[in-house]
């Protein structure tokens, strides 16, 4: 495991999306470092971006513009949505000395998409090698994938402890946050602690996108909701083990990422609306009494699918509470009454 490193470590490569090929970045001797939408950087995104972009992107911009994240060897952003594309443009303006790669991420997971994505990863690998001065060969990449899978296993263990009720969602989020900034020593420590909040009783399934604050999960618990399973970009979807197939590590990464846990932006061409189906199936499997959706404002992939998700959950007899936030605790705190009322309502479901 890599040990924790300093924020001014110039091997860091900033990233923002759980589809980022972290093993590829590490294979170049660089350190993938996720910029979480946290901190108190001044709000400056509106000077370059528009207010109608999601808070995730705006908060990342704010941190980058404030320099509070330090310098990076480079930035790998994924073309997962329109907002991320604009973030890439904006980053180039405010930090022109840092190379920015916008990685094309196909929206489907068919074989053609995987092949193309593998090619895009190869080309990214060449750039990463230039950034570090350490070109990537297949052997180094396979070694990096194996290390990455160990890390994914640690995260998987933390999730399993959470699913088994040995740790609560807040503690699990602490593990993921440490892992996001490559502080693996801390992640390991946190994954081993005991912390169960037994006061919250009503089982709830949580899905959505970005919510990195452990205190958010404490707030859910304070409202009586015990998160029994979750599907969030800042936790569950960060666990993406890579299955090495056909001795092609790039294709292996491509396939594993596209076939891994789905963000709503990724489409199953054979099952349009699969996101809704999968969320409903997972919610039923978790034996939750109800479902909470936590998404950021202006997140088009989730906004557009929410009605179909609601429909599927209704068919399963599962009430849904939709919360829109700005990744902050403040906005979630303002919805405490709604969460309490929802939990009260589903208590006997």
């Amino acid at each position: 495991m890599r040990s924790g490193m300093k924020q001014d470590d110039n091997r860091r490569v900033a990233y923002a999306c759980s589809y980022t090929p972290q093993a590829l970045i590490a294979a170049a001797g660089l350190i993938p470092w996720r910029i979480l939408p946290t901190g108190e950087a001044p709000e400056t995104a509106g000077t370059v971006l528009h207010d109608n972009l999601c808070p995730h992107v705006k908060l990342i911009f704010d941190r980058a513009n404030d320099d509070s994240v330090g310098k990076f060897a480079g930035v790998v952003l994924v073309d997962s949505c329109d907002a991320m594309r604009r973030l890439a443009d904006a980053w180039r303006r405010i930090r022109p000395d840092e190379p920015v790669e916008l990685l094309d991420l196909p929206v489907a997971n068919d074989e053609g998409s995987i092949d193309f994505f593998a090619g895009a990863l190869r080309r990214l690998g060449v750039e990463l090698g230039k950034w570090s001065g350490q070109p990537i060969d297949d052997e180094a990449l396979i070694e990096s994938i194996n290390k990455y899978n160990e890390q994914a296993e640690l995260l998987g263990r933390a999730r399993k402890r959470f699913l088994d009720g040995e740790i609560d969602a807040a503690a699990m989020q602490e593990v993921f946050n440490a892992a996001a900034v490559a502080d693996w020593e801390q992640a390991e420590k946190l994954a081993a602690i005991e912390s169960v909040d037994s006061s919250a009783k009503t089982p709830v399934y949580l899905f959505g996108n970005v919510q990195p604050h452990p205190a958010a999960y404490k707030l859910f618990a304070d409202c009586g909701a015990r998160i029994v399973e979750e599907d969030m970009c800042t936790s569950a979807r960060m666990v993406r083990p890579i299955i090495i197939e056909d001795d092609d590590p790039y294709r292996s990464i491509a396939s594993s990422l596209l076939n891994g846990p789905r963000c709503a932006r990724t489409i199953d061409l054979k099952r349009p609306g699969a996101a809704a189906i999968e969320i409903a199936e997972a919610a039923v499997k978790s034996k939750a009494s109800g479902v909470i959706a936590y998404t950021m404002k202006f997140c088009d992939p989730y906004l557009a699918r929410m009605p179909s998700i609601a429909e599927k959950l209704k068919a399963e007899g599962l009430p849904l509470l939709v919360l829109e936030g700005d990744c902050s605790l403040r906005s979630l705190g303002q919805q405490q009454t709604r969460i309490e009322a929802f939990v009260e309502m589903i208590r006997d479901n």
Partner: protein, 402 residues
């Protein structure tokens, strides 16, 4: 809806007979748009619903009734009917923060006013919202979906991949309609496309004249909607009508706007519903919209014997693809070529890819001496249209560029 379009067709055709002098290029365009609408809403018409950048000339050559979904949103807005459908969508759980083009489509689907799909051709460009709207249609209509993925990196790898996908799309469509593609029809379609392209290039060159022959609404939606007619004689007819009209006006020194004082570049989409602002631009401020960003022909003629690479290249020329610097360069080029005094950017609420970049676009045009008026407006939903506020902004803008 069918009746609406049929009445429109009858009215325009009748006017051509009774008053031949009224046969303007814009009316020829409107007639053909109405015919598209009528086809879509003909009972039993199974429509291939598509994303904006689908290759409609190919689909026309394959004998498929086709359209991009946002056409319905725009059409509902232009008839003044969009509010009802948007409200239906909102009541059905679609967020007011999402693009109203797509909310209108969702509402139309919920109210059974979206023609039945035969199959779906999804495109990820220009936006995530559009792709999601298309996926919803595939789900609701339970129809097969093909994904035409356009990478944002503009290079030979992306072109090659897009070319391969276009070929695969043709196979997909053939399997859906149960007939093999006819190479002769495809060839003919591409020849029509190239012919329309040449005429459009001439048209836009003529629009650069001073005064510009373009009336205030002449160029509205032209490029986007004419894409639906590419590959057909109708596309050539409309493009030729424009070219001939503009040529005649330029030769006679007739401007589209009387006393053209200002030349305006219109960024991205027009406001689709009837509104007094556009007339004010012409009559009060004596400004001419001489170019619409999305009309411009950025692509080369396509080889009729091997069309797929050329079509891939065409798709990749859209200004809405790739880094914003590319789009800004294109806008700066338009500003120079059309001798622009100012640009108007209707920052459509819910448009992340477009409106999200507005500050960068504004700065980029400022660098070449072109001020930009960013209007906070919804191009499809008229419910919150704030005429007073917009007028004040326009007054200040035109005073500044005076």
């Amino acid at each position: 809806m069918k009746k609406y379009f049929d009445d429109l067709i009858d009215g325009i055709e009748q006017s051509f007979i009774e008053r031949p002098e009224s046969k303007s290029a814009r009316k020829v365009y409107a007639l053909n748009i109405a015919r598209i609408g009528a086809r879509l809403y003909t009972p039993g018409a199974d429509v291939a619903w598509c994303g904006v950048l689908a290759p409609f000339d190919l689909l026309n050559a394959l004998g498929v009734t086709n359209c991009f979904v946002e056409f319905v949103g725009a059409m509902l807005a232009s008839t003044g009917a969009s509010a009802m459908f948007i409200e239906a969508a909102e009541n059905g759980g679609y967020s007011t923060d999402s693009c109203a083009y797509h909310r209108a489509v969702a509402g139309a689907t919920m109210l059974n006013q979206m023609p039945q799909a035969s199959f779906i051709i999804a495109t990820n460009c220009p936006c995530s919202g559009g792709l999601a709207a298309i996926e919803n249609l595939a789900r609701i209509f339970n129809k097969d979906m093909f994904m035409l993925y356009t990478p944002s990196r503009i290079d030979e790898h992306s072109e090659k991949y897009l070319t391969e996908q276009i070929a695969a799309m043709v196979d997909f469509v053939s399997s859906q309609v149960g007939r093999k593609p006819d190479p002769a029809r495809i060839r003919q379609a591409i020849e029509y496309t190239n012919e329309a392209r040449e005429l459009l290039v001439e048209t836009y060159k003529l629009a650069r004249s001073t005064p510009s022959p373009a009336r205030i609404k002449d160029l509205e939606n032209l490029g986007i909607s004419l894409a639906l007619m590419l590959g057909t004689p109708e596309g050539v007819e409309v493009a030729r009508a424009y070219r001939d009209e503009f040529k005649q006006k330029v030769e006679a020194g007739i401007g589209g706007v009387k006393n053209e004082k200002h030349r305006i570049l219109w960024i991205q989409n027009r406001i689709q519903f009837s509104n007094p602002i556009i007339r004010s631009i012409e009559q009060e401020f004596e400004a001419s919209i001489v170019v619409d960003e999305l009309n411009e022909v950025y692509w080369d003629p396509i080889d009729p014997d091997d069309p797929y690479p050329g079509i891939a290249k065409r798709i990749m020329t859209t200004p809405l693809l790739g880094p914003i610097d590319r789009r800004i360069e294109q806008l700066q080029g338009l500003a120079r070529d059309y001798k622009i005094d100012g640009a108007i950017n209707p920052c459509h609420w819910g448009c992340r890819q477009g409106t999200g970049a507005r500050a960068m676009v504004e700065k980029g045009l400022k660098e070449v001496g072109v001020p930009v008026l960013n209007l906070d407006v919804d191009c499809v939903d008229s419910r919150n249209f704030a005429e007073g506020q917009l007028r004040t902004r326009l007054e200040a803008f035109f005073e500044m560029i005076n």
